[in-house]
Amino acid sequence: MWSSLPSFVAVYPETLLVLVASVMALVDRWVTRKAVFTWATIVTALLALALVFLTQGTTFGHTYAADQYGVFFKTIFLLVLFLVALLAPGYNRLLGINFGEFYALLMYAVTGMMLMASTQDLILLYLGLELMSLSVYVLVGLLYAELRSLEGAMKYFLLGSFASAFLLLAMAFLYGLTGTTNIEAIAKALLAANLSANKALFLSAALFVVAFAFKVALVPFHMWSPDAYEGAPTSVTAFMSVGPKAAGFAAMGRVFLIALGAAKTEWTQLLVPLAVLTMFTGAVLAVVQTNIKRLLAYSSITHAGYAVLGIIAGTKEGMAATMLYLFLYAFMNIGAFSVIVLMRRKNFLGENIFDYQGLSKTHPTVALLLLIFLFSLTGIPPTAGFIGKFFVFRAAFEAGHTALVILAVLASAIAAYPYLRIVMLMYMKPPEKEVEISLNPYIFAGLMFAVTGVLLFGVYPGPVIDFARACCTGFLP
């Protein structure tokens, strides 16, 4: 009887996460020392990471493939989980949301993302996406006593559901054309039946573009993100600015590069204007923001614009570039959010950029860390941000998108201003008010980890580049 069951080896990491998350959600009432949950999350993240590297294979009737491609993305997700678990405890305790469900929801979301990264079937892709999205909707609305948290959650939920509907419709068209939901079978069917000029295929590609553009916040489908970022607890913002975004790109890689490989010209044509619009809109709108969470929301829109360049390139190199970009982005963005988290006091939001005025005088170390993260986000060497940008620009250039790359570098020059403005406030203006910093060992460890990543991969990125490339070798011809 047991032999008829499918092998579960490939989903060990996901199983582990779901089990631990469920137990944490259940026992929360009886655990008074909430630090247990932080530690459980950290340990689980590391264990799952080890399992990700150890377990590979295809299972459940070719719907789930724990392949190299998935390994890289899962590394990103678990890294995000690890960093967020380090930055969250102090902040959550302050706001009274440091309970088991918080960590449980994070882990459910990560499970959903991991399913998205390894899916071989559109239905499973949808399931993973919903698991991730629903968990994150709840996380955004965790501060339900605050109006803006509710507003953010509501907007995110409504628009997110809308996007899910688009996704289903796109899948339905594709199913109608090919009669299957398996990604590789779709690719084969499209080629075999020579459907690349079919109108329905174009429509399906367009709907996929819209759905994923919602998820990774490409302009003009970005409207939810500044509100959701601002309203969500900062620990959640840090998570959703990298995690779900990376998952979106993982799914994009599977859908566009593999399933819709035959319609490459069509979806490229749709993504190019979106990418240009995204880079410039994000960069320009970030200039006028005074709330640092909103500012980083627009900055993360711009960064999604760069990351999508790798998908547009449509090559192995391009996919590797996008993957590396997201990996490095996790370090710098969560690092920056860790500093924002430090600023929060009981009755002081610490979100206005003018709260950072003179920080270098009052807290030189924290200011220096934020300086490094911000210059990395700007893309100035010798930080990781530069390496990421260089790789995606190079891949897009190699694929022949010259004009796009020129526009991208110009956008990155505009995007520098908001970051420089914060540096300017921290270093070049006198402090106006007393700012207290709530440092605890967890967040200190997280900051050190992030800054090490940013500087180390900035000067010695060789191993991760090789890793990203190796992970794409089996994925694309």
């Binding site: 530069f386 260089f390 022949g400 570098v409 110009l410 270093y427 060789g462 580049i465």
Partner: protein
């Protein structure tokens, strides 16, 4: 033509570049005791300068290739190597950078009183990045240093600068960044074509003219902003004026030389055909910079601003020399870069000396300083004359060689350029007259003369001004072989040029499908 390499037995260049970085890291850990930090930085800078001296004496002047070469694989995935070396074009800049760093620490001894630790860290990091730029033989490594320098420089101008520093520093950063990212696109293109970042291999690439044309302008964007050439010079007066004295000295002494160095190292050797074809527009831009910069100087009322605009004019001479593509002129241009670094650096230091005492930069607040501060007046006089290009000072040698070479290749440019010398004499002598002669302005009456520390910073500059002015042979000897080899490379490069309209049409064609 293959470029010969001579590998170093001792990683001298690495030591020179990384010593200030290590110093900066140690500074980060030191307690905030200003005296300790100043002395420590000074020692680091002095040791670094001492390390550059073997470069001076061991350098083989008859060898046209790269010397003191170090090469190690770095990022294998992209074929990037840690590849350092100097030739006759770059070696003097390394020396100058080390010297300027020492002087900058001396000159800010009392001027910088706030965030002393951060200041010295930024200064040492800038110094390391500058030397890295001049030593890199790998395009990626070069770009890394080139961009990395923006961060400490942004902080130096923005934190320790004058009243309008925030505007100036953002403007500086964004101008430079826009230029640099366009060069980055060019670098990516070259890499994809050549499959390597190795500068010496890219030199042999021999790209078709239409590629060279576009790449020339992509690199031009970065270098022209840094030099700065007219019409992208507008960041310079602001940055110079608002920067602290040490910042101005670095800007004038080294940073803007990086642009001209870039033209020599990259634009000429990578895109020789385009450089030859673009000679007239480049000379025209240079002449405009010389004359326009000079005329603007006549209308300045601010000491630092005047010297800043004079930089535009002087750097016009440098680009004039480079793009006349004639041996004497190019040697003159390199020498003039060194000269300008010394003279303008020294002039900024001099302004810093009185600014520390009076806290005003308006020319009308001065007058009669020659009676109040006679020793200072003597220093200033020598640097003024050197800036004008009086025979016997270093300025004369550089300008003369440039005009000599330019005359041989494009007569009109030399004639117009010579006009700049006359304008230069007008504004500098007027400045000297207004500040040092006439009646003693009550605002400056009773100022103390220069201190020992300030004299120590100014004397090396003075010696160099007179030494290069009277006996330039050793300095010219450094660059002679390398310059001849470079020009041979440029003039031998064969390639048919196309009319611009055709290139634009083709360019549009390439760009539009994406």
């Amino acid at each position: 033509m293959e470029v010969a390499l001579r590998t170093a037995e001792f990683p001298l260049l690495s030591a020179i570049i990384w010593l200030p970085v290590i110093g900066a890291i140690i500074l980060l850990l030191l307690p905030r005791r200003d005296r300790l930090i100043r002395w420590f930085s000074l020692v680091v800078a002095l040791v670094d300068f001492a390390l550059t001296l073997p470069l001076f004496s061991w350098f083989d002047k008859d060898f046209s290739g790269m010397q003191f070469v170090e090469k190690h694989a770095w990022i294998k995935a992209w074929h990037i190597s840690y590849f350092l070396g100097v030739d006759g074009i770059s070696v003097l800049f390394v020396l100058l950078s080390a010297l300027v760093t020492v002087l900058c620490i001396l000159i800010s001894w009392e001027a910088v009183t706030e965030k002393v630790k951060e200041f010295h860290i930024a200064l040492l990091l800038t110094s390391a990045a500058m030397m890295g730029v001049f030593c890199s033989l790998d395009l990626f490594l070069f770009y890394l240093f080139w961009e990395a320098m923006l961060i400490p420089m942004y902080l130096i101008i923005g934190i320790w600068g004058g009243p309008n520093r925030l505007y100036a520093t953002i403007k500086f950063f964004l101008y430079t960044l826009v230029g640099s990212v366009l060069m980055l696109v060019g670098i990516i293109f070259l890499y994809l074509k050549a499959g390597t970042f190795n500068i010496l291999e890219i030199m042999q690439l021999g790209l078709p003219y239409q590629f060279q044309f576009w790449l020339f302008w992509a690199f031009f964007a970065a270098f022209a902003v840094k030099v700065p050439m007219w019409p992208v010079h507008t960041w310079l007066p602001d940055a110079h004026t608002e920067a602290p004295t040490a910042g101005s000295v670095i800007l004038a002494g080294i940073l803007i030389k990086m642009g001209a160095y870039g033209f020599l190292r990259f634009s000429l050797s990578f895109f020789p055909v385009a450089a030859k074809a673009m000679m007239v527009p480049m000379l025209l831009l240079s002449v405009i910079a010389i004359i326009y910069g000079g005329i603007i100087c006549l209308a300045q009322t601010d000491l630092k601003r005047l010297i800043a605009y004079s930089s535009v004019s002087h750097m016009g001479f440098v680009t004039l020399g480079i793009f006349s593509l004639e041996g004497n002129a190019v040697e003159g241009a390199i020498l003039q870069m060194i000269n300008h670094g010394i003279v303008t650096g020294a002039l900024f230091m001099c302004v810093g000396v009185v600014y520390e005492r009076t806290h005003t930069r308006a020319i009308k607040d001065y007058g009669g300083l020659a009676t109040v501060m006679p020793i200072y007046a003597a220093f200033f006089m020598v640097f003024t004359l050197a800036s004008i290009g009086l025979p016997g000072t270093n300025g004369f040698i550089g300008e003369f060689l440039i005009l000599l070479g330019t005359f041989a290749s494009k007569r009109w440019a030399a004639v117009l350029g010579a006009l700049g010398v006359i304008i230069g004499a007008t504004y500098m002598l007027r400045l000297y007259q207004q500040v040092f002669y006439q009646e003693v302005n009550p605002k400056v009456a009773g100022l103390p003369d220069v201190k020992m520390r300030e004299v120590l910073a100014l004397v090396p500059m003075l010696i160099l001004v007179l030494l290069i002015g009277c006996y330039p042979t050793p300095f010219l000897g450094f660059m002679h072989t390398s310059v001849r080899a470079l020009l041979e490379h440029v003039h031998q490069a064969a390639g048919t040029t196309l009319p611009i309209s055709e290139i634009l049409k083709e360019g549009l064609h390439v760009v539009l499908p994406s």
